[in-house]
Symmetry: C2
Subunit: 383 residues, 2 copies
């Protein structure tokens, strides 16, 4: 299926996609194929007339009489929003390409259209974006880390994508907003619906300073299957996904699985092994499916495609194998801490031959590690 | 170098190895080669007489007059101990084979002899052993986890090997002792020396109920290079190494590096990313050098060679990709929670064609997920 715009973004195209968006429950693979083949206007006409294949009929017959396109577009406009369609410049064309691979198709392909609220150009702000997700039943540790990481990512100019749920999602949105950054809340209900109810204020702020994005037309209420369908958009809009906390059966593990199917970097934050909220993260680590991230710098490094200017690699490390055979170290250890020790005693204590001891002591002195005193040689502490 | 006994464990052999153990600071590679070539008695005689190669001379000349073998053997016997030599049945022949590979040789090879205190047969108790190590500057979390894991490993019949330091090491020894299990403290000083001082009581208990093991003859005091040399024995005696906590420059990272050089499984315990005590563990995870372990079962699984009787694999997991397209799930979600909903309304809400809705509702009823009420169909909660 092509992702290049096949037609200019006329009113008629937008109305057709608005209609199709309400008629079929995402993700309607057969309908999407039809739209790709004949274009949205012709596809909408055929659906209305019932002149479609059995598989498209099965996806559209229940709601094909629901002609709310104009009303839906008016409603979203009154809520400061718009319908973003593949024919628009701001359509996130590149991020959605990943949805077309075979593994990803199991979770649904590129959406037919997106209902969007907020002051940013969608394609621009997802150019450098990271999904930060996790359990609703988060711990204080998890919410703290989600908030700190989102703050740091937003401060570095990255967009934070999440799902507006209680717990990790909410902390991630708040952290990004706190840094004056951009955050995207991808909803499993209409973009006009404040769900969960306790996040009404947060969602209002995201709509004013970030973006609210939904595949569902206004008024559609959240349902279990919609969260799963929604998760693919979180994974697709983020350049990688950070799971901050996840219980054994957390929904965040679904987003993690989709991230892998999309071929995007999957990162998890380690936590105490005594915490049930980190069990899912540790499982993903242990199974080798996710990378461990402990800082914003590590997230930026893992997501990689943001470029070298943002990623800072730690300096090359010395080997931890050490040099236990080093005669100089053994001589150093044999020196007196408070009093001098004769070179013969140093030789016996260190097991280093006397002639080598006599050669090494001046070297240690030069290195500022030993000094000569009345009774012999004394150790100076390493800095 | 062969690890098979080349001579019976006679008194003369034991005296020769006791002498060599004191004469050369571990690890004396050239001397070890000589012993492998001519046997310990002849090697000791040549060292005494000074008739050895320059490299062996360099390793032995400083202390070659120290003839304390008989006295050392008497002293360790008075402390309930013995000198275990490669010619003994209880020599840990197999665990030490790993010390002979090229990468491991950098840290030193098989010891010339081991000073041992305690009631167990060394080769027997290291047959199923795990090293549990970590920072002296451990957090309460780290000490708790080290103690719990050691308790669990000991309860499962495994021996816990550690280094008797403050922090993680001490917690590991105590955990194993608490389970009535066997623990081995490998020291960087004579087996008769209680170091660190605050662990005098703990070391006494390990000597009575576990084993104290040292490459150093009685009376030798701890020194920095001896800890590094000692770490290779901890890694070699454990079938794998668990690093519970490690700061960025913790000595536990040295034991970790040696474990990898030995080709043994390296495991780390995740912790809060906000804790400096877990930084080293997370680095090892992120670099892909260590496996994450969150439980005793995972440690046993990782170490593997203990066999299937101990390792319990979690049941095969379902895919987390879910089935967001499932019509049955969508029909279920569209049912009324408190009141019945007509099948037509279910069709519109779910987007599933009416005939499919009518087919699916009885299936949901049979599955105990829906029931017919006066006004239509009502949802029953999933268990």
């Amino acid at each position: 299926m092509s992702t290049a715009p096949t037609a200019p973004a006329t009113d008629a195209v937008r109305l057709a996609r608005a209609y199709l968006s309400r008629v079929a429950e995402p993700y309607p693979a057969a309908l999407a194929s039809l739209v790709a083949d004949v274009g949205p206007i012709e596809a909408a006409d055929r659906v209305r007339a019932g002149g479609v294949s059995p598989s498209v009929t099965s996806q559209t017959s229940a709601r094909r009489a629901e002609e709310h396109a104009r009303a839906d577009l008016d409603l979203i406009a009154r809520r400061g929003g718009r319908l973003v369609i593949p024919e628009d410049e701001e359509w996130p064309r590149w991020p959605f390409l990943a949805l077309e691979n075979v593994a990803a198709r199991r979770c649904g392909g590129e959406p037919l259209a997106l209902w969007v609220r907020g002051p940013h150009v969608l394609a621009d702000v997802v150019d450098k974006a990271v999904a930060v997700v996790g359990s609703r039943a988060a711990s204080g540790y998890g919410e703290h880390v989600a908030g700190e990481f989102a703050f740091g990512l937003a401060s570095a100019g990255l967009t934070v994508v999440s799902g507006a749920a209680y717990g990790i999602d909410g902390a991630a949105h708040r952290g990004a907003l706190g840094a004056g950054g951009v955050t995207i809340a991808v909803l499993a209900c209409g973009a006009d619906i404040a769900y969960p109810g306790g996040h009404q204020g947060l969602l209002g702020r995201v709509a004013r300073e970030g973006l609210i994005v939904s595949e569902y037309p206004p008024g559609v209420t959240p349902a279990r299957h919609r969260f799963l369908t929604r998760n693919r958009l979180i994974a697709a809009l983020g350049g990688g996904t950070v799971v901050v906390e996840a219980g054994r059966r957390s929904g965040a593990k679904n987003t993690a699985a989709i991230t892998l199917a999309l071929g995007r970097p999957l990162m998890v934050v380690p936590g105490p092994v005594t915490s049930v909220s980190s069990v899912g993260c540790h499982e993903l680590l242990r199974e080798g499916q996710a990378e461990s991230v402990s800082s914003v710098a590590e997230i930026v490094e893992s997501v990689g495609r943001f470029g070298d200017d943002l990623a800072t690699r730690p300096a090359e490390k010395e080997s931890d194998l050490g040099a236990p055979q080093g005669e100089a170290m053994r001589v150093y250890e044999a020196l007196g801490k408070r009093n001098g020790v004769s070179d013969e005693a140093v030789s016996v204590e260190s097991g280093v031959p006397l002639d080598r001891v006599r050669a090494l002591l001046p070297e240690l002195e030069l290195a500022g590690l030993a000094m000569q005193v009345d009774q012999g040689w004394q150790k100076l502490e390493m800095r």
